[in-house]
Symmetry: C2
Subunit: 576 residues, 2 copies
């Protein structure tokens, strides 16, 4: 950064690169909308005030200039897009920066996966920051593609785009001071790194214990009471508005003079259809404003606050010396959804919702698109269940939530423990995808409402084995075999044929196609599932993807079996 030129430009001694006249400035530092001129040089704001000297002038004629958005917590893998395609999708919506925990790819490829995300997100007109995945694998009750130790993480701590130890989901590991978890905390604190939290429902003295590990934030609050306790005990609260987990409106009443400096608006998990059709943080800011939050407050929680939390200074506001990442808006109401123009590092990158700069994706290495390793074809027999007791544990999916409820049913009513679509009792299977052996575990699930066929996915948090839900064993075997052939993705089959698929060959998590094409395929897939298989869920693949996640209560299925998350142990399918 050439401070001297910036200083000369600020004093009007040298022409700015760009002068924006007659702007209404959304000032997240003062909380006011202020009139003035803004000048830019070398990608930074040099001054706000009254200026004339510039190489290029834009007269805003009273329109708004606002900071662009930084998403403090989003998993790029969940968007199914490469970093380049993600940037292409969200830049026109006013997002110019994200902080991501690459723990999906880290569970598949380990440190090599994190390094790949760093590589794939280089040299783009977008700031991709990452956090160091702290829980790979999430638990010992599943098979992941890799294991990451504190020593593995150490060499990455010096990378300037690594800004924190990622969400410490293994909160029992903190509370019961697991050796490996404590080693990672020690590393983070020695390096003066931020430690992100993840502690759904954790309150009281257990929350105190978790915080004693030096945990700084939470994005899992689902009620004002939970968020209030966490805030008053020192956590930053991230208001999550994702494709399925939507907590923003619930938590807005907590935003006040004391708390607003320690809250961020984040998305966590967003699918590409949601991003392209509804929006990214612009849609969440719009939602907050429509629900009574002042525009300056809403912007602050999506610009200055994320930057402050991650100690990325001189970002997230329109002020001298700050990075010139900004957008033009016609108004601060409906048009929040459609920025007139978006600038990154002082250069226009999008106009009228269209990207106007070229974005080229770096080459994806061959190993990264060969991550589903299944050396055998599965058959219907692999999915058979022999009852060994009179009572069976069933997973209950809760609409719009990633936690489940465990239920025990009498198997007398199910002659051989087979799916019963009329009662919405379906079979669920998780197939280990790394060793090639194709070992699997089978359970039962309620809440999908499929009437026929099967769905399978290689997106199955956090180990990303192959997960499948179905009404019959033949379709389940076929779905898994076809998914392996695609090198991963989302697939729906019915009566032995594919009715829709989104190939996600990059780590079995991300598409190598464009955002538009990926969204188009996802839309078709979801429509086919709804129309042909009669699923009752809006996005059954999103629900499916969380059924193997043994850090979120209550009953889950991994490749090693059924997990009682509250007991943190594997339990049998049948109770005697």
């Amino acid at each position: 950064m050439d401070y001297e030129r910036l200083i000369r430009v600020a004093r009007g001694e040298e022409p700015a690169d760009l002068l924006i006249k007659n702007a209404q400035i959304v000032n997240v530092l003062s909380g006011k909308i202020e009139s003035g001129d803004v000048i830019i040089a070398d990608g930074y704001f040099a001054g706000v005030g009254s200026y004339t000297n510039a190489g290029r002038v834009i007269d805003l004629k009273g329109k708004y200039i606002a900071p662009t958005y930084m998403d403090a917590h989003i998993h790029i893998e969940s968007t199914m897009l490469t970093p380049a395609e993600f940037a292409r999708a969200v830049l026109p919506k006013g997002t110019t920066s994200t902080v991501s925990d690459p723990h999906e790819i880290a569970n598949v490829f380990g440190i090599r996966g994190i390094e790949l995300m760093l590589k794939l997100s280089e040299s783009l007109p977008f700031d991709f920051y990452f956090t160091l995945s702290s829980c790979v694998p999430a638990t010992h009750m599943e098979t992941s593609g890799a294991k990451i130790t504190a020593e593995d993480l150490e060499r990455l701590t010096l990378n300037p785009r690594i800004v924190a130890l990622a969400e410490l989901m293994n909160f029992p590991g903190v509370i019961f001071h697991d050796r490996e978890v404590m080693a990672k905390l020690k590393l983070a604190h020695e390096r003066k790194m931020i430690v992100d939290g993840h502690s759904p429902g954790l309150l009281g003295n257990d929350l105190n214990a978790y915080l004693c590990g030096g945990i700084l934030s939470d994005h899992e609050c689902t009620s004002v009471e939970e968020a209030r306790e966490k805030l008053k005990k020192g956590m930053w609260i991230f208001l999550r508005e994702g494709t399925t987990e939507k907590n923003l409106l619930e938590l807005l009443p907590l935003v006040n003079d004391f708390t607003m400096s320690r809250m961020c608006i984040v998305s966590d998990d967003k699918d590409p259809v949601d991003i392209l059709e509804v929006g990214h943080l612009n849609a969440s800011v719009h939602l907050a404003v429509r629900n009574g939050i002042s525009p300056t407050t809403a912007f602050r929680m999506a610009s200055l606050n994320p930057a402050s939390y991650y100690r990325l200074y001189f970002r997230g506001a329109i002020a001298p010396g700050y990075k010139a990442d900004f957008q033009f808006l016609h108004n601060l109401e409906e048009d929040l959804l459609k920025p007139l123009a978006v600038f990154k590092d002082g250069k226009m990158v999008a106009e009228n919702s269209e990207l106007i700069v070229p974005i080229s994706s770096p080459t994806i290495p061959e190993w990264a698109i060969r991550s589903v390793n299944l050396n055998r074809q599965l058959s219907a027999d692999d999915f058979k269940v022999q009852p060994s007791g009179s009572k069976m544990r069933v997973i209950n999916v809760i609409l719009g939530q990633i936690f489940t409820k465990g239920e025990v049913i009498e198997v007398d009513g199910m002659r051989k423990a087979v799916p019963d679509p009329t009662e919405d009792i379906l079979k669920l299977a998780v197939v280990e995808r790394y060793s090639g052996q194709g070992k699997l575990s089978v359970g039962f699930v309620k809440g999908f409402g499929l009437k026929s066929g099967a769905l399978a996915s290689s997106v199955a948090h956090d180990s990303h084995n192959l997960i499948c839900v179905g009404t019959n064993d033949n379709d389940m075997a076929y779905a898994i075999n076809q998914l392996a052939r695609l090198n991963g993705g989302l697939i729906a089959v019915n009566d032995g044929s594919i009715i829709g698929a989104v190939p996600l060959p990059l780590a079995g998590l991300m598409s190598v196609e464009s955002a538009t094409e990926t969204a188009r395929k996802l839309t078709l897939l979801l429509r086919a599932v709804k129309e042909k298989l009669s699923s009752s869920l809006d996005n059954p693949f999103m629900s499916l993807s969380f059924l193997a996640l043994p850090v979120i209560p209550e009953l889950k299925l991994t490749d090693k079996g059924l997990v009682d998350v509250n007991k943190f142990e594997i339990v049998s399918l049948f109770e005697s």
Copy 2:
């Protein structure tokens, strides 16, 4: 820090060191007063909630527990006390931490002076942080005891108690990108250090230019308008309430929901009488509360906010994992001035305004108490002025301000340019104290109101040469000679005899006696000056100390001559 024990204590599995029952908690994170128990282990808060298991229990019976204070900007040297004596004075008033720019001693001894302050502040029940003096000497228009370059500062950046590049007073140096100033900024930004600002009255495009240097704060605002512009351009605003510079009440109207997270209450310069008799930050917090600021907001600006600004995390609030620095208060009104007890790192250090732990001062090295080097006795002749024009520049002292006004008077009315106490025109001299040659410059000043005698001081910002104001040349020479004999300090003489003195042999800036004894001598000195010399100022030595500071407008006197600060150049005493 033993995280594992803290976590066990938080869960109630192991007894805490201390349990505080039935507390009303001043929560600066939520802005509320909350009821609960607080437990402490190993000097940290382990939990807030409901607890029973502890080695020691204090039942507060509904009294308040609040964080202790951190002063984000104070010059320890200005208190005239060693760090140990300063800690002794302010611990009973609820201050447990300070961030100081040691630039007074740095101007006298250079890097060696900063290292001495680090050494003298070790191993005390108090957290002394320092910033790296950025402007030594403040300008080229004076002789200081040392010069500090960016290279000199570099090795100190790794010290964990060094938290910032100190107040960048040389704002013209930034605006006109002085080579040495830019080198220091570069060093700070490379090391990701905070850069404190100091820019009285700087506004508009010049302020923009200054901020482009990456400056983060200002403690020199004297009006709401000035502070509002600085805040909205990204600066943190420090509300200063010192012994002479009092800006808190003027700036309080700026405290609102958007700004309160970026404001701190600081003292900058406080004399020992003020500290012992009125108070430190406790008095400023009390003043803010009396003037309508909520107690939680006032506390936040003197605890959590300073810690956040200096990136000293897990400090400044009563929350799990935070450092257990706290105080008990009977109420949040008058008794803010008298904490019932003060705890540092979980241990009680003061009770009922009395220190209850031993504080021993480290030995002061011999070289540090021999800093006034005058190899000759001055005589009255040294102070004579020969008029060389018909108009003479006179410095006008402004009551309660550190800036002055320049005035031009006709010398016809003063036969030989001599002091005229009836018109309150006194002689001012600055004697260079480092080389031994005793070179001096002489000027005239209005506003002291002395009727006889002379005052001299080795505290003369920022180069700390010997400064003297007097009604006659004999007393001025005597005052300087006696001051040199004391190795520095404050002295008042009348008709050839000393009527009061505060010896400050440590760098000519600090007393080696106790806080009480230093304050007693200062009180006696000020009383003698008022009664015997009829000074019209409350603390003429404080005013005197700023008359040699050529970075604060408008007309000042250094050992090299009269300085027109606005022109930033030396001007002649007489206009032709």
